[in-house]
C-alpha cells in the first residue's frame, strides 16, 4: 500500500546495522517514511519556488531538511539538476549514474578555471511594444504564435480558409468559379477579357484574393506545359495587381514564385511554336511592377528576385530561353539592376552568345534563333541602361566633336583586358561571384565602381581619354575633332587638384564612358539609337 515496502525498510535497517527489526515495525515504518519524504519534498518545492527555479535541486532538499531541523544530506549539492537515468526494465525507477573517481586523479587534476563573474547586460526587449530584431531577443518566428492570436482578436484571419469561408458570399464564390473556368477553358475569349477587366477594377474582391493567389500558385506549378493557361493566369495576376482596391501585400510571397517560374523556367509549353517568349516578357513586367510598388516596404523582396534571376543568368548550363527570361526580368527592374548585374557579366556572356550565333549549322538553327533573341534582349537592356546614364551626364554631349578613333582604340585595348581578367575568373565559378553581388547594396549609386576600385590610378588616367571616349556614337556621325589632347589633360589636372567632387564626377563620366565603350564593342552601331541625341535635348 505504501510506496516504501516492508522489504525496503528491512534492507535499510540492515544497512545501518539494525539486525533485530521486527516485521511489524518494518511494516509500520514504511508508510511513515513515505509521509516524511513527501513532507520534505513539499518543503523543498517551496524552497525551489522561492529561488525562482522550476527544477528541484539537491540544495532545495537540503534547505527543506534544515527547515525541519534535520541534518542535511551532504554531498549532493550541485548547481545543475542531477541527471537521472531510467533503470532498465522499470517504468518509473531512476538512478543517478555516478562514476567512481580515483582520489589521486582528483588531487592531481589541474584546478579548473575560475567561473566567469556574474554580470548584467541590458538590452531593449521592446520599443513601444515592438520587439527589435537584435540578437538578444529571440527570433521573430517564435513570436508568431502571439501575433496570430491577436489577428484573431480583430476578426481578421490571415490564413486558414475555414474562417474566410464565412466571409465569402455566394456571389463571390460564383464569381471565383466563373473566372477560374474561363481561365481554363476560354482564355482567349472576349468574356475572359471582360473578366480580367473586372478583376482589375472591382472593389469587392478582397475576400477572393487568397483563393486566387493559392489557385494560381497551384496551377502554375502543375501546368507548365499549357502555355495558354499560363498566359491566362499571368493575366489574372496582372489584373489583380492593377486593382487599386485590393490589398495584395500579404500574398506576395505566394505570388512571386509563380511569376519567377514563368520568367526563368526551362521549358514553358510543349511546342516549339508556343510563344513562351511573350509569356516571359509579360511575367517579367508584372514582376518588375511588383518590385517597384512593394520594394520599399519589403526590403528583401528585390534582392531575392535579383538573386534568383542572376542565378538563372549566370549558369551556363541553363538553356537560352532561361537566360532570356533572366535578362528580361533584370531589365525590368530598371537600369540600375542592369548596370550592376548584367553589364559586369556581359563580356564573357557575349562570347557564349556569339558562339551560338556563329553556328551555321542547320540543326542548331532554332538554337541560333534563341541566341539572337537573347542577344537582342541584352542589347535592349544594355541600351536602356546606357541611355539612362547618358541622360544624367549632359556635359558629355556638349560639343559634337572630340572623340578620335585612335583614342578610343587605345582605351578599348586596355579596358577589355582588365574586364576580361576580372570577369573571366568570374564566369567559370558563378557561385563565388554571388556573395560579391549580394554584398553590393542595391542602392549603390555607381554600378561600375567595382572595376573602378581595382585601380583608381589607372582609371584616372583613362579618365582623360574616356571623357572623349563617350562619343563613339557621335563619332559614327562622322564628326572627328582632335580635341582629345586638351580634353585628356584637363581632367588630369583637375584630379591633381584633388578636388574630390570633381573626381567623383569624373568617375561617373569614366563609368559611363566605359560602359558605352564596351557596349559599343559588343553591339556595334545598334547602340547608337540609345544615345541621347543632342538634337533631342534641345527640346528639353
Amino acid at each position: 500500500m505504501s510506496f516504501v515496502v516492508k522489504e525496503s525498510v528491512e534492507v535499510i535497517a540492515q544497512c545501518i546495522g539494525i539486525t533485530n527489526l521486527s516485521p511489524e515495525v518494518a511494516e509500520a515504518l514504511g508508510p511513515d517514511v513515505e509521509y516524511r519524504i513527501r513532507e520534505i519534498i513539499q518543503e523543498a518545492v517551496k524552497c525551489m519556488r522561492h529561488s525562482k527555479r522550476t527544477v528541484l535541486t539537491g540544495d532545495d532538499v537540503d534547505s527543506a531538511l534544515r527547515l525541519r531541523n534535520v541534518e542535511p544530506t551532504y554531498g549532493f549539492t550541485s548547481n545543475d539538476a542531477p541527471r537521472f537515468k531510467r533503470a532498465a526494465g522499470h517504468k518509473d525507477l531512476f538512478y543517478i549514474d555516478e562514476k567512481d573517481l580515483e582520489f589521486k586523479d582528483v588531487m592531481d587534476a589541474p584546478l579548473p578555471r575560475a567561473p566567469p563573474e556574474t554580470s548584467v547586460i541590458a538590452h531593449w526587449l521592446a520599443v513601444e511594444g515592438v520587439q527589435p530584431a537584435i540578437p538578444e531577443n529571440p527570433p521573430v518566428e517564435a513570436a508568431s504564435e502571439g501575433t496570430r492570436f491577436e489577428y484573431k482578436d480583430d476578426g481578421i484571419s490571415a490564413d486558414g480558409s475555414l474562417s474566410v469561408k464565412h466571409v465569402v458570399t455566394k456571389e463571390l464564390q460564383l464569381y471565383y468559379e466563373k473566372v477560374r473556368e474561363l481561365a481554363f477553358k476560354k482564355p482567349n475569349s472576349m468574356i475572359f477579357k471582360e473578366a480580367l477587366q473586372s478583376l482589375a477594377t472591382d472593389s469587392g474582391l478582397q475576400p477572393l484574393v487568397p483563393f486566387f493567389v493559392s489557385s494560381i500558385a497551384d496551377e502554375v506549378s502543375k501546368n507548365l506545359t499549357k502555355i495558354q493557361l499560363l498566359f491566362a493566369l499571368v493575366r489574372v495576376v496582372r489584373s489583380l495587381l492593377h486593382n487599386p482596391h485590393i490589398h495584395i501585400e500579404p500574398y506576395l510571397h505566394q505570388l512571386m514564385p509563380s511569376l519567377v517560374t514563368c520568367v526563368v523556367t526551362r521549358q514553358l509549353g510543349n511546342h516549339v511554336s508556343d510563344n513562351h517568349w511573350e509569356l516571359r516578357n509579360m511575367s517579367a513586367s508584372s514582376m518588375a511592377s511588383i518590385c517597384k510598388r512593394y520594394g520599399h516596404a519589403y526590403q528583401n523582396l528585390q534582392p531575392r528576385v535579383v538573386r534568383t534571376l542572376l542565378h538563372a543568368f549566370l549558369d551556363p548550363n541553363n538553356s537560352l530561353p532561361q537566360h532570356y527570361g533572366a535578362v528580361r526580368g533584370l531589365a525590368g527592374l530598371g537600369p540600375t539592376a542592369v548596370r550592376m548585374f548584367i553589364l559586369p557579366n556581359l563580356e564573357p556572356y557575349m562570347q557564349l552568345i556569339k558562339a551560338e550565333i556563329a553556328h551555321d549549322n542547320l540543326k542548331n538553327y532554332s538554337k541560333k534563333l534563341e541566341a539572337w533573341r537573347v542577344y537582342r534582349a541584352l542589347m535592349c537592356a544594355a541600351g536602356m541602361c546606357m541611355y539612362e546614364r547618358l541622360k544624367l551626364l549632359p556635359n558629355l554631349f556638349s560639343p559634337p566633336s572630340r572623340a578620335i578613333w585612335k583614342n578610343t582604340r587605345k582605351v578599348a585595348t586596355v579596358l577589355p583586358n582588365k574586364r576580361r581578367a576580372s570577369s573571366d575568373n568570374l564566369l567559370p565559378q558563378p557561385p563565388q561571384k554571388k556573395p560579391a553581388i549580394e554584398a553590393n547594396p542595391m542602392v549603390r549609386p555607381m554600378g561600375g565602381s567595382m572595376q573602378m576600385s581595382h585601380m583608381p590610378m589607372s582609371s584616372m588616367q583613362v579618365a582623360g581619354a574616356s571623357g572623349t571616349m563617350t562619343n563613339p556614337g557621335v563619332m559614327g556621325m562622322g564628326r572627328l575633332v582632335h580635341h582629345e589632347g586638351v580634353q585628356g589633360r584637363d581632367p588630369r589636372n583637375l584630379a591633381a587638384r584633388s578636388s574630390s567632387v570633381l573626381a567623383q564626377a569624373w568617375k561617373e563620366t569614366v563609368n559611363a564612358g566605359q560602359v558605352l565603350e564596351s557596349l559599343f564593342d559588343h553591339f556595334g552601331e545598334s547602340m547608337f539609337c540609345f544615345t541621347v541625341k543632342p538634337e533631342l535635348s534641345i527640346f528639353l
Binding site: K52, L67, E117, T118, Q131, P138, E150
Partner: protein, 674 residues
C-alpha cells in the same frame, strides 16, 4: 414486516458479526419454539405500543446492519453510487451536485484512514482521484501522503479539513434531490458525512450558472471569507499626494500663476519653468531610456486619468517627510510620463544576468532603473549600477569595495558590482527603497537586513521571524516595510526599530509574497494556502480573503488607483480582484508556468507579468475592469485581453517594474535549461 424476515435478518446479522454461539443458540431456539418465537415477537411488538418493529426506520436500520458489508466497502460503494447518481442527474442541477462530491470524497478517505483501514483507503483514493485531479491536484498530492491516523493528526491541512465544515451553495431543488436520493438509497454513510461535514447554503430559485462557479476552490474557506469580507475598506489613494498636486498644477497652470495656490503650487510652477532648461541637461542623461516619453507627453495629458478619479483617504501611519529635491525629481518624472494604453505599449528594457550558475534567487530594480540588485543562493547580495556600467567607470566601484572591507575582485578590483555580504543563508527577496538609497534583503537565515547603497554597508539586521523570510517589500513611501515568512506570518516593520510593529497571522501555510497598497494603510499577502489576504496595517486585522487560485500564489500587484489587485500563481494564472467587493473580476490565462512578478503601469491601464516560461506579457486591464462581471457572461472576448507577448531568449523573468515615466524594466537570469 414479516416476522420470518426479521428472523432471517437477525440470523444474518449474527452471522456477520461473528456471534456464532449466539447464532446457533438463536437458531436452535427458533427450531425448538417456532411458535413461541413468533409469539414472543408478537409480544414484543405489542409491548412496543405502536409496534416498534413495524416502524420502517427501525426496520431499515436492522436491514442496514444485516446487509452491510465491511465498513470500507460501505464507503467505497456509497461514494461510487453517489458519484454515478450525480453524474446521471439533470444537466441543470448536475454541476451543483457534482460540487458535493469533492468534500464527500476527501472525508470518506480521511474517515477510512482514521478508522485504520489504510489499504482500503488507498484503493478508494486511487479509484476516484481522477475525478478531482483537475480541480484539486494540489490537495490530492498532500492527502496522498497521509498513510496513518497519526499523520491525520499531524498534518495541518488534514487537521484543518477535519475541523472546518465545507460550505456549498446549492439551490433548493438540487438540495431536495440530494436528500431524496440519500434517503431512498439508504446510504447512511454518505448521509452521515454530508450531514457532519457539509454546510449547505440553500438558495431558492434557479441553480447558479456554471460560469459563476468560482467557488469550487472556495469550499473550505468561504466560511471565514464570508465573515470577513463585508468589512469596509478605504481603497482610495492618499490625499494630497504628489500626483494629486501634479494633476492640479498641470490642469490649471493659470491658477498657480495667480498666486492663489499655496506656496507649494507656486514652487511647482517654478519647477515647470526650470524644467524648460532642465530638460535639455537632464534629457541627455535620460533621453535614451525615456525617448518615448518626450514624444507622447504633450498630447496625452488630457486623457482621463484613472488615478485621479480615485477617492482620497487619510494615512493611518505617520509618513516620512519628503525633501523638496526628491519632490522635484518626482514631478519631473511625472511631467515626462508616457501615457500607456492598449494602443500605446511601453518600451521594455531588459536586464539579463549572465553567468549566475543557477545561483540567482531574486532580483529587483530601483524605481528609476539605474540600480539592479540580485540576491544569490550563496548568501551574497550584488548591486549593479547600470548608469556606471554604461560609462565603464569601474575605478570608483573598486574604491567602494575597499571601503566596505571587501577583498578586491580577481581582476584587480575591477568588479562591475558592489558586493554585500552578511546573510548566512540564500537570499530570497530584495527590495529598493523608493529613492534607491536603501536595500532590504530577506534570507533563509530568517533575518531581514537593511543596506545602504551610499555607504555600501549593512545598517540593521531585523530578527523576528523564526523561519526563512520569503519576501520583503518597502512601502511606497519608504521607511516602513513588510516581510512574509515560512512561519505563516507577515510582519510590518519600520526602519528605525528592530522589532516588528505588527504581526499578521492567519494564513494556513507559508506566506509567499507581500505587497503594499498605494495608500500604505493595507498590505496584501499571498500564501501557499492558495488565498490572498488583505490586512489593515494600523489594526493588524485581516480585512479580505480572496479565494479562487488553484495553486500557490507567487506574485501580487495593486493598481495605482488602489482599487484592483492582481495575483499570479504557480500554474500561470493571473487573477484580477476588486478589493472592495473581494471578488475576482477576471482570470487572465496565458502563461505556461510560474508567474514570478506582476506590475501595473503608472496610470493603471496595463498589467505586465513576468513568468518562468521566458516571457513578459502585457495585459489590457482597462477593458476587463471597466465592464462589470455580469455583463460579460455572454462570453465576449474582451474579458481576456492579452495585448502582447514579449519572449525573452531563454531567460525567465524574475522581476519587472514600471518607472515613474512608464518605462518598463524587467530582469532575469539567462538559464540554459529553460
Amino acid at each position: 414486516m414479516e416476522e420470518e424476515e426479521i428472523e432471517k435478518l437477525v440470523t444474518a446479522y449474527l452471522k456477520k458479526r461473528g456471534f456464532k454461539d449466539a447464532e446457533l443458540a438463536f437458531q436452535e431456539e427458533l427450531h425448538r419454539h417456532p411458535k413461541n418465537a413468533s409469539a414472543s415477537a408478537g409480544a414484543a411488538a405489542a409491548a412496543g405500543g405502536s409496534g416498534a418493529l413495524s416502524d420502517p426506520d427501525v426496520a431499515k436500520l436492522v436491514q442496514l446492519f444485516s446487509e452491510s458489508k465491511s465498513v470500507p466497502e460501505q464507503y467505497h460503494d456509497g461514494y461510487g453510487r453517489l458519484r454515478s447518481w450525480a453524474h446521471d442527474s439533470l444537466d441543470l442541477y448536475k454541476h451543483e451536485l457534482l460540487r458535493v462530491l469533492y468534500p464527500v470524497f476527501i472525508h470518506c478517505f480521511m474517515d477510512l484512514i482514521a478508522q485504520g483501514h489504510l489499504h482500503e483507503a488507498r484503493i478508494f483514493f486511487n479509484s476516484f482521484r481522477d475525478d478531482h485531479a483537475m480541480m484539486h491536484s494540489g490537495d490530492l498530492l498532500k492527502l496522498e501522503g497521509v498513510l496513518s491516523p497519526s499523520h491525520l493528526e499531524e498534518m495541518e491541512f488534514a487537521h484543518y479539513l477535519r475541523n472546518t465544515k465545507a460550505t456549498i451553495k446549492i439551490c433548493q431543488y438540487s438540495y431536495e434531490l440530494l436528500l431524496q436520493y440519500l434517503h431512498k438509497t439508504q446510504s447512511f454513510t454518505m448521509l452521515g458525512i454530508i450531514n457532519e461535514r457539509i454546510n449547505f447554503q440553500v438558495s431558492p430559485g434557479q441553480p447558479t450558472s456554471l460560469s459563476d462557479d468560482v467557488g469550487v476552490e472556495t469550499i473550505f474557506t468561504t466560511d471565514d471569507a464570508t465573515k470577513i469580507n463585508p468589512k469596509e475598506i478605504q481603497w482610495g489613494l492618499l490625499e494630497d499626494s504628489l500626483e494629486d498636486r501634479f494633476e492640479k498644477g498641470a490642469f490649471s497652470p493659470l491658477e498657480a500663476d495667480k498666486g492663489e495656490g499655496e506656496a507649494k503650487e507656486a514652487e511647482q510652477d517654478d519647477n515647470k519653468k526650470r524644467s524648460g532648461e532642465g530638460k535639455q541637461g537632464n534629457a541627455i542623461k535620460k533621453s535614451k531610456k525615456d525617448k518615448a516619453a518626450a514624444a507622447a507627453v504633450k498630447n496625452s495629458r488630457t486623457e482621463a486619468n484613472t488615478v485621479s478619479t480615485a477617492p482620497r483617504v487619510k494615512a493611518e501611519l505617520t509618513l516620512p517627510v519628503m525633501s523638496t529635491e526628491v519632490e522635484q525629481s518626482i514631478l519631473e518624472d511625472l511631467r515626462n510620463r508616457v501615457q500607456l494604453s492598449s494602443t500605446a505599449l511601453p518600451s521594455v528594457s531588459f536586464y539579463t544576468f549572465v553567468n549566475t550558475h543557477n545561483g540567482l534567487n531574486c532580483s529587483t530594480i530601483s524605481q528609476d532603473g539605474s540600480l539592479v540588485a540580485g540576491g544569490f543562493s550563496d548568501s551574497s547580495l550584488k548591486v549593479w549600477d547600470m548608469a556606471k556600467l554604461g560609462q565603464q567607470s569601474a575605478v570608483l566601484q573598486g574604491e567602494n569595495d575597499m571601503n566596505n572591507g571587501e577583498h578586491a575582485g580577481p581582476l584587480g578590483g575591477r568588479r562591475s558590482y558592489s558586493l554585500y555580504q552578511g546573510h548566512s543563508g540564500p537570499i530570497h527577496a530584495v527590495t529598493f527603497s523608493p529613492l534607491g538609497d536603501f536595500i532590504l534583503s530577506s534570507s533563509a537565515d530568517s533575518t531581514v537586513r537593511l543596506w545602504s547603497t551610499k555607504l555600501n554597508a549593512n545598517l540593521v539586521c531585523y530578527k523576528g521571524h523564526n523561519y526563512p523570510v520569503w519576501d520583503v517589500q518597502f512601502s511606497p513611501v519608504g521607511h516602513y516595510f513588510a516581510s512574509a515568512s515560512h512561519d505563516r506570518t507577515a510582519r510590518v516593520w519600520s526602519m528605525d526599530r528592530i522589532q516588528p510593529l505588527r504581526i499578521m497571522a492567519g494564513h494556513l501555510s507559508d506566506v509567499d509574497c507581500v505587497q503594499w497598497h498605494p495608500n500604505c494603510n493595507y498590505i496584501a499577502t499571498g500564501s501557499s494556502d492558495k488565498t490572498v489576504r488583505l490586512w489593515d496595517v494600523a489594526s493588524g486585522e485581516c480585512l479580505r480573503i480572496f479565494v479562487g487560485h488553484r495553486s500557490v500564489i507567487l506574485s501580487l500587484a495593486i493598481s495605482p488607483d488602489g482599487r484592483y489587485m492582481a495575483s499570479g500563481d504557480e500554474d500561470g494564472t493571473i487573477m484580477v480582484w476588486d478589493l472592495s467587493s473581494g471578488r475576482c473580476i477576471t482570470p487572465l490565462m496565458g502563461h505556461a508556468s510560474c508567474v514570478w512578478t506582476l506590475g501595473y503601469s503608472c496610470e493603471g491601464t496595463l498589467l505586465a507579468s513576468g513568468s518562468a516560461d521566458c516571457s513578459v506579457r502585457l495585459w489590457d486591464v482597462t477593458t476587463s475592469t471597466k465592464t462589470p462581471r455580469n455583463e460579460e457572461k455572454s462570453g465576449s472576448t474582451g474579458r481576456l485581453r492579452s495585448l502582447k507577448t514579449l519572449l525573452t531568449k531563454s531567460t525567465p523573468v524574475y522581476t519587472l517594474q514600471f518607472s515613474r515615466r512608464n518605462l518598463l524594466f524587467a530582469a532575469g537570469a539567462l538559464s540554459k535549461g529553460a
